[in-house]
């Protein structure tokens, strides 16, 4: 299976004087046709990382180190013009307010035409046919091509944003909280659309969300970020039964289980740390019920423990026992 995204040790700062170290040494691999979910609270750096991968970071954000290989090209050093050409054809992006990313004074059809004229040599008839196919995939009537964004509901606009992102069959789509502003039923519709789109048109996805339940349902692999770092990475099916990092467990516990009405749920006490100064310690230790003196004195490394990549001094021992017993 070929690798679509290979990011190594990416770090992003905000500001130059007294910078906020928003993302630190994050490595991420996304394979062909793989859905990777990226979860964490507000401010954990998940969106900053997504933007950096698409090279959409804007001052004061700045990629200070690391490499980003996407489909064999070095995106970190790519010049403006090749980058412009590669965006949308190789990598496209759907934002939380994607519905507001549509141009209000252009019809939906004109926006499809705009993208396809920029990046392909398709004839006007081919463009219309392709746009109609894309709308059909997200269950929207072709008549909508003649409409303006303000005539459509938020859910329809977001589905159109997804159709637009996929129109040039990019290798990778980065979705940043694409359903957060929407109702449950519309979110379900989009999730089912994405599952169906994936069957019809192979593509990889980085799905950024704070909703671990949603990510576990949709993604193949889940990456959990806390305070700018990856703290856990494993397949969604194994995470569902064995979340290892105390933070991942807390996230799972912060919303009720739809299958267990009597189950307890609680918020995560405390707040994430200030990322101006990174202490030598586990950054989650102040909020962690399992924290020991070691956690408060040393920085845990992200370790490859075969079944999981984990950054935790305490639960790494549990993983060892789990693997040892062959459970």
């Amino acid at each position: 299976m070929s690798v679509i995204v290979q990011a190594e040790n990416v770090s992003v700062d905000y500001g130059r004087k007294n910078p906020v170290h928003a993302v630190r040494n994050v490595s991420l691999t996304i394979e062909e046709n793989q859905f990777v979910g990226l979860v964490g609270e507000s401010g954990c750096g998940k969106s900053t990382l997504g933007f950096a991968l698409a090279r959409l970071e804007r001052p004061p954000a700045q990629i200070i180190s690391g490499t980003i290989q996407i489909v064999g090209q070095d995106w970190r050093t790519l010049a403006a013009e090749p980058l412009r050409r590669a965006r949308w054809t190789e990598v496209s992006v759907v934002l939380q307010s994607g519905m507001n990313a549509l141009n209000p004074i252009m019809t939906i059809g004109a926006q499809f035409k705009d993208v396809m004229e920029q990046h392909t040599r398709m004839s006007p008839a081919e463009i219309v046919a392709r746009a109609e196919t894309m709308l059909e995939m997200v269950q929207i009537q072709p008549e909508v091509l003649g409409r303006y964004p303000h005539e459509l509901s938020g859910g329809m606009k977001q589905r159109i944003a997804i159709a637009l992102a996929l129109v040039l069959q990019p290798k990778l789509v980065i979705m940043d909280e694409p359903t957060t502003a929407l109702d449950m039923v519309v979110q379900r519709q989009i999730v089912e659309n994405l599952k169906e789109l994936r069957r019809q048109q192979a593509f990889s996805m980085l799905f950024i969300s704070h909703d671990l339940g949603l990510v576990l349902e949709l993604a193949d692999q889940v990456v959990v970020m806390y305070a700018g770092e990856v703290v856990e990475r494993q397949s969604a099916t194994s995470m569902l039964d064995h979340p290892w990092h105390p933070y991942t467990r807390a996230l799972m516990h912060s919303l009720p289980d739809p299958e267990n009405p009597k189950g307890s749920y609680e918020g995560i006490p405390g707040t994430p740390p200030d990322l101006h100064h990174i202490p030598t310690a586990c950054l989650y230790a102040p909020r962690c019920p399992l924290a020991t003196d070691v956690c408060r004195a040393q920085t845990p490394p992200l370790e490859d423990l075969k079944v999981v990549d984990l950054r935790c001094f305490v639960t790494r021992e549990e993983v060892g026992v789990h693997v040892g017993t062959g459970a």
Partner: protein
């Protein structure tokens, strides 16, 4: 049983949009329900279901086209100021609900001075107590802050504190956690439930699109579709056996990785149509079970058990055929 805190009967709101497409819009149609002492009722539906309009009519921000609202058996409190004091609202967006120029002390003192007629000094003392109630302690750390100095969760606690400052009987919480980070939602919902337990308020209407959070907070759930109450019942009975196809749709829409891992088929929503049909069931254009009768006759709420009422021809017929 004691009298209900709030009794709503036949509540209807029709909007008359200006402009060329000026067909009247029935946002809320013949909605009746009670809020009993110490009870949380959840009003669940999508955008455009009329749930916020109901909340706005109860607080007096909107005037009902038809129907009555009785607070403690007193027919529709006419004086809007009295109504606003007795029915307070917690809004969805804590960023928009607080004036960015005002300090917390000012936002909390205003209802205390205006409604409770407290002196400024007494108001400040009471504000401290209320801040402790919403678990912002020590209160003096928060009194002189402005909204931008607070996190989203803290701001929502201030909005809740401000609602409490009016000493309301009823709090209407309109999507109070949907803008908040997942890690703090549970705590804000627990706080709201504690207000009932501690008898800070007599009853609460919790407005949401999320059945799962409704289950945590509410004793009864009322499902609204396009201004119609389509199902109402006691929470666990309703969620164990949702009868209306729309309730089933809402329930299956909740992300559930375990169900997905088992490969279970779920009800996939069809696109919603723009217009509500003039005759028949409002859900009929999207309904997989619709029969001919659904296109002609508006289903009314029918009790199918002691705990549950549903407005669906198919569900009700199925029940009576089975029994």
């Amino acid at each position: 049983m004691s009298e209900p805190v709030l009794k709503v009967e036949g509540l209807t709101k029709v909007f008359h949009p200006r402009g060329r497409r000026s067909t009247p819009l029935v946002a809320v149609r013949q909605v009746s329900f009670n809020l009993d002492e110490g009870e949380v009722v959840a009003l669940v539906g999508e955008s455009g279901s009329g749930k916020t309009t109901i909340g706005r009519m109860l607080t007096g921000i909107e005037t009902p086209t038809e129907g009555s609202i009785h607070l403690r058996s007193e027919p529709g409190v006419r004086n809007p100021k009295t109504r606003m004091q007795r029915v307070q609202m917690v809004f969805q967006d804590p960023y928009a609900a607080l004036n960015p120029f005002n300090r917390v002390s000012y936002s909390l003192s205003r209802p205390l001075i205006n409604y409770q007629k407290l002196s400024p000094a007494d108001a400040l003392a009471r504000a401290r107590t209320i801040l402790s109630t919403v678990q912002l302690t020590p209160p003096d750390d928060y009194l002189e802050k402005r909204p931008h100095q607070l996190s989203g969760g803290q701001r929502q606690r201030i909005v809740i504190a401000r609602a409490l400052a009016a000493s309301p009987e009823i709090v209407i919480a309109d999507e109070p956690v949907s803008m908040l980070d997942v890690s703090i939602r549970a705590d804000v919902l627990s706080l709201l439930r504690d207000l009932l337990v501690q008898q800070q308020v007599s009853a609460m209407l919790y407005i949401t699109h999320d059945l799962l959070s409704a289950r945590l907070l509410a004793r009864r759930i009322m499902v609204l579709y396009r201004g119609h109450v389509v199902e109402i019942g006691e929470t666990e009975a309703l969620l164990a056996h949702p009868q209306h196809p729309y309730t089933q749709l809402l329930w299956s829409a909740i992300p559930n990785p375990r169900r997905a891992a088992r490969g279970e088929q779920i009800m996939v929503p069809t696109a919603s149509t723009g217009e509500v049909p003039l005759h028949g069931c409002p859900f009929q254009p999207r309904c997989p079970l619709a029969i001919d009768r659904c296109r002609h006759e508006v289903p009314e709420l029918v009790a199918i058990s002691e705990q549950q009422q549903v407005a669906c021809h198919v569900a009700v017929d199925g029940k009576s055929a089975a029994s």
